[in-house]
């Protein structure tokens, strides 16, 4: 399948058209969506209208933008005017937002064609896309396995060649983990680099929107479009968006990269091997590799599973049956709210709401939420210390390759442990990406993770590009 970069070039030059690219996407969706359950909604009419507009503008000689005519899949927790936005929850079934997320405005302004909304773990809570009220998404590389999550649909859309790029959101690894499991590049940008306006919040202080792509170049291309200050998001960084494409081939010569013990420990042998050979590849490209230990990272899983549920318990309070979405009628408003929420939320969402409510409640706040915020400080300090010694960090993205359906659904703690390598950087707010490197059991892809200090995306992409080339991917 063509890269987004190639599609945009072809559309701009007239070698292809937005319409042709879109119809090709539709035909792959028609072929595979029933089996894989990637899209919850395909916006045939709207997407064709946008594609036609792009083609007309190209015909008039206008500059359509860096994503000219590129079909793109959107995780179904981002608002788009008039398009059903469910967060894979029954509680929002049928709801159509009256406003666009900032990222939707930005990609459309850049010429992209949003084709529809992809499946996810309900409200982005999960690591396998099994927690969707509309059924699980299957991994296109092996449909008996999960695509990862929570952005499993957006990962699968690219892995199944439906689109070249897609949008995901990453709160504790929800882009990087499915990217690793589906053999893609997935990026969690610096917190505040991409506007959260219009992203249905899971845990506001951790959520970031980011790109999925097959190549490092496409990831950088899409992130350049997404990034930038948004006055509608108070936590949006004030600085202008970084230049990423220009630095893609900067390489890693002279860079110091830390291989973090805690980001490899406990992973499957194939994963450990992949990370070690990634380190070798970086060394060969001129980087100095140092092994280091950040013991504080061992605490981050506990902190995350208190902070994220605490914020979620409050963020999800608004789903009460009063203004939009599901209502289960009852004689009084309190009972109506209870009945609605009980019927509308799935088990994992309820579990996290319960956990978060408990962590914030009187008598437990200090012991749980308060303590978790302090561990967050320790995490930030640990990373800051590391970045005094090295430029970037290297580790695994996941402990293993894509797992089978149901393998971890009975044991929430086992599922949570799948995020152990991705969570620390969400707590710190720093960027990280997962890039495919090597394969494991049954030839399934392995992702290695590159981490950097705030706003170091350009260096991360340059290092990822080195690995991409070393892995023979381009």
């Amino acid at each position: 399948m063509k890269s987004a970069l190639q599609i945009a070039a072809d559309v701009r030059s007239g070698a292809s058209s937005a319409n042709d690219e879109l119809e090709r996407t539709f035909s792959v969706i028609a072929e595979r969506n029933e089996e894989l359950n990637v899209f919850l909604h395909v916006d045939f009419e709207g997407a064709r209208r946008v594609a036609r507009d792009v083609d007309e503008r190209v015909a008039r000689g206008e500059d359509v933008g860096p994503l000219a005519g590129v079909p793109i899949a959107i995780k179904d927790n981002m608002c788009q005017v008039g398009i059903p936005t469910t967060c894979s929850s029954k509680i929002l079934e049928g709801w159509r937002p009256p406003y666009d997320a900032t990222v939707i405005q930005r990609i459309v302004a850049a010429g992209a064609v949003p084709v529809g909304k992809t499946n996810l773990d309900e409200f982005a809570m999960g690591s396998s896309t099994e927690n969707s009220a509309f059924g699980p998404t299957r991994n296109p590389l092996d449909p008996s396995r999960v695509p990862g999550g929570s952005s499993g649909g957006s990962a699968a859309a690219v892995a199944a060649d439906m689109t070249s790029i897609s949008l995901g959101s990453d709160t504790g690894g929800s882009i990087r983990q499915p990217a690793a499991l589906c053999g893609l590049v997935g990026v969690k940008p610096t917190y505040g680099l991409v506007s959260r306006y219009g992203l249905v919040a899971f845990a506001s202080s951790l959520d970031q929107i980011g790109p999925f792509a097959r190549t490092v170049t496409d990831s950088a291309l899409l992130l350049e479009v997404l990034a930038g200050h948004d006055p509608k998001d108070s936590t949006s960084l004030p600085e202008p968006s970084p230049s990423l494409l220009a630095h893609l081939n900067d390489g890693v010569a002279g860079q110091k990269i830390g291989l973090v013990r805690e980001l490899v420990e406990g992973a499957d042998d194939s994963v450990v091997t992949a990370v070690r050979s990634a380190a070798d590849a970086l060394r060969e490209a001129g980087a100095e590799i140092v092994e280091l230990s950040l013991p504080e990272l061992a605490l981050t899983l506990s902190a995350y599973y208190l902070i994220a549920p605490a914020e979620a318990s409050s963020n999800l309070a608004r789903f009460d049956g009063v203004r939009y979405g599901l209502r289960v009628n009852a004689v009084d408003v309190t009972t109506m709210m209870e009945a609605t929420r009980t019927a509308g939320f799935g088990a994992e969402v309820k579990r996290r709401i319960m956990l978060g409510t408990y962590a914030l409640s009187a008598g437990y706040y200090d012991a749980y939420y308060g303590q978790a915020l302090k561990v967050r400080t320790l995490t930030i300090n640990a990373f800051a210390r590391a970045y005094e010694q090295v430029n970037l960090l290297l580790g695994a993205t996941t402990p293993g390759v894509a797992f089978k359906f149901g393998a971890k659904t009975e044991d929430p703690m086992a599922m949570y442990l799948n995020d152990v390598f991705t969570i620390p950087t969400n707590l710190a707010g720093d960027p990280a990406l997962s890039v495919p490197f090597g394969t494991g059991e049954e030839g399934l892809p392995i992702g290695v993770q590159l981490l950097g200090p705030g706003r170091s995306e350009a260096q991360l992409f340059a290092a990822a590009r080195v690995l991409e080339i070393a892995d023979g991917r381009s």
């Binding site: 967060c87 937002p97 406003y99 306006y197 108070s234 409050s314 309070a317 608004r318």
Partner: protein, 475 residues
């Protein structure tokens, strides 16, 4: 009201005031009372999934103005979420300042000289409004309710006093003085009837000097009268309860103006677990010195200072004059008094005319220039106009904005100029030689005789003081 048997009440007030911003606290919806229901709503104030709040700068300015006027310390602050489910609250949490409010530790001096401490004055958002169907339109007994989110997200400042108030009259005076300050800062219109200011009163009783008793909170009092009556009722209720061997329960109570009593709304229980935590959608608010200085520089004088400024213009001040000054300040009309004083006129006369004639026709005060007012007062002072005539002239000028000299001329008030009064007095002296000689010999009572004659001749339009001055001059 004096409490029986050595009881003392301890009262603290929480005053919520809506701010006069153009838009809401965290979104660009119009902040306007009385719009058609649900016409000032957007994704943010409606709590739509994915929407995010952004703080209104003007609301911060108003909050700081209030804090500065109450001598508070302005400190770095944060916004928390107060979590509770309620249909008029679109996110099912209220964004409010919690442990780090923007203003803390101030005080308010009342006209009687007492001081009430201010614990904090923090920013938060208002809720929407429900109307109730069935059950005679009240919450209790209604079948269902309808919610309008126009008010949801309107900026509020909540001003929390210390438990320093010891009588309902003092509570009322505090509320009135605070209202004057809020209006003076431009932060609030002070319209109690529209709910733009609401009072909650925490009331407890104790034997003088004893430790604090258990308090009850009376919610949502919306007039000064209700505030005063509800506090008195509640203090007496608690005293009766304790004297009857009962115990005061900590609870929230409702004041029913028609029944003139408070009744239990909710007993404080563990369901009140608001799970406060920092709102992760908002960042810290820490106005720097420059921002604070800009706000302070634009701060107008407060009522107490303005009152003092007017009182200083008066000689021996009577209670009645103090009341008149109060009216002048409340209505913001003191510029007229100051203008007269600057023209070396009679400030006391200016206060009287302002508190009465000007206050009686506020709709037209805009028509009255300070020059016209000064001219009228000086004409009256010089005897060119009697009190009655001066009032007539002012009433006319307020309506038409005309020059007071022209109004006086048109009404034929001119013959009372000093010259014409002088000739009138001279002719009366000639006509009544006996009375004149007795007056000359020191019988001051006869002045009234001559004044009566002058009044008769001028159909009551002369100025008594001016007549006496004429008589004295010829004595």
């Amino acid at each position: 009201m004096i409490l029986p048997n050595g009881w003392e009440m301890v009262v603290g007030l929480e005053v919520h005031t809506e701010l006069l911003t153009k838009s809401k606290l965290f979104c660009g919806c119009e902040n306007h009372f009385g719009s058609e229901p649900n016409t000032n709503i957007c994704p943010v104030c409606l709590g739509l999934p994915g929407s995010l709040p952004v703080l209104n700068r003007e609301a911060v300015d108003f909050a700081m103005r209030i804090g500065m006027s109450l001598h508070c310390t302005i400190a770095p602050s944060t916004f928390h979420r107060k979590n509770y489910f309620y249909p008029d609250q679109s996110k099912d949490y209220q964004i409010s300042q919690y442990d780090l409010p923007i203003n803390s530790g101030g005080f308010l001096d009342l006209p009687d000289g007492s001081r009430v401490s201010i614990e904090r004055a923090h920013m938060e958002e208002d809720t929407g409004k429900s109307t109730h169907l069935g059950g005679s339109g009240r919450l209790a007994g209604a079948d269902s309710s309808l919610v309008d989110y126009n008010r949801c997200g309107v900026p509020l400042v909540e001003i929390v006093s210390g438990p320093d108030i010891r009588s309902s009259a003092q509570a009322r005076a505090y509320a009135a003085e605070l209202r004057g300050i809020l209006i003076a800062t431009g932060a609030s219109d002070g319209r109690l009837e529209e709910g733009s200011m609401r009072f909650d009163a925490n009331v407890s009783v104790r034997q003088s000097g004893a430790p604090l008793g258990t308090r009850c909170e009376i919610k949502n009092l919306n007039s000064l009268r209700s505030l005063q009556r509800a506090i008195d009722y509640e203090a007496l209720r608690q005293i009766d309860l304790i004297e009857g061997g009962g115990v005061v329960r900590q609870e929230t109570r409702h004041w029913d103006e028609n029944l003139s009593e408070t009744s239990t709304l909710r007993v404080k229980e563990d369901a009140d677990d608001y799970r406060y935590f920092r709102d992760p959608d908002l960042v810290d608010l820490a106005p720097d010195q420059g921002w604070q200085d800009r706000v302070r520089a634009a701060l107008p004088a407060m009522p107490a200072e303005r009152r003092a400024g007017v009182v200083a213009l008066l000689d021996d001040v009577t209670d009645a004059q103090l009341d008149a000054v109060e009216v002048v300040i409340d209505l913001g009309l003191e510029k007229y008094v100051h203008a007269v004083a600057e023209a070396s006129g009679d400030a006391s006369l200016a206060v009287a005319r302002t508190a009465n004639e000007l206050a009686a026709d506020l709709d037209n005060v805009a028509n009255l220039t300070t020059e016209a007012f000064v001219t009228t007062v000086l004409m009256e002072q010089r005897g060119e106009l009697s009190a009655t005539q001066a009032k007539t002239v002012l009433a006319e000028v307020l309506i038409s904005g005309a020059d007071p000299r022209d109004v006086a001329a048109a009404k034929g008030f001119e013959q009372l100029s000093a010259d014409s009064l002088g000739s009138t007095v001279a002719s009366l002296i000639k006509a009544h030689p006996d009375e004149w000689s007795r007056y000359r010999d020191g019988d001051d009572k006869l002045a009234q005789f001559f004044i009566g004659l002058v009044m008769k001749l001028t159909r009551g339009q002369a100025n008594g003081k001016a007549v006496i001055a004429e008589l004295q001059a010829r004595r």
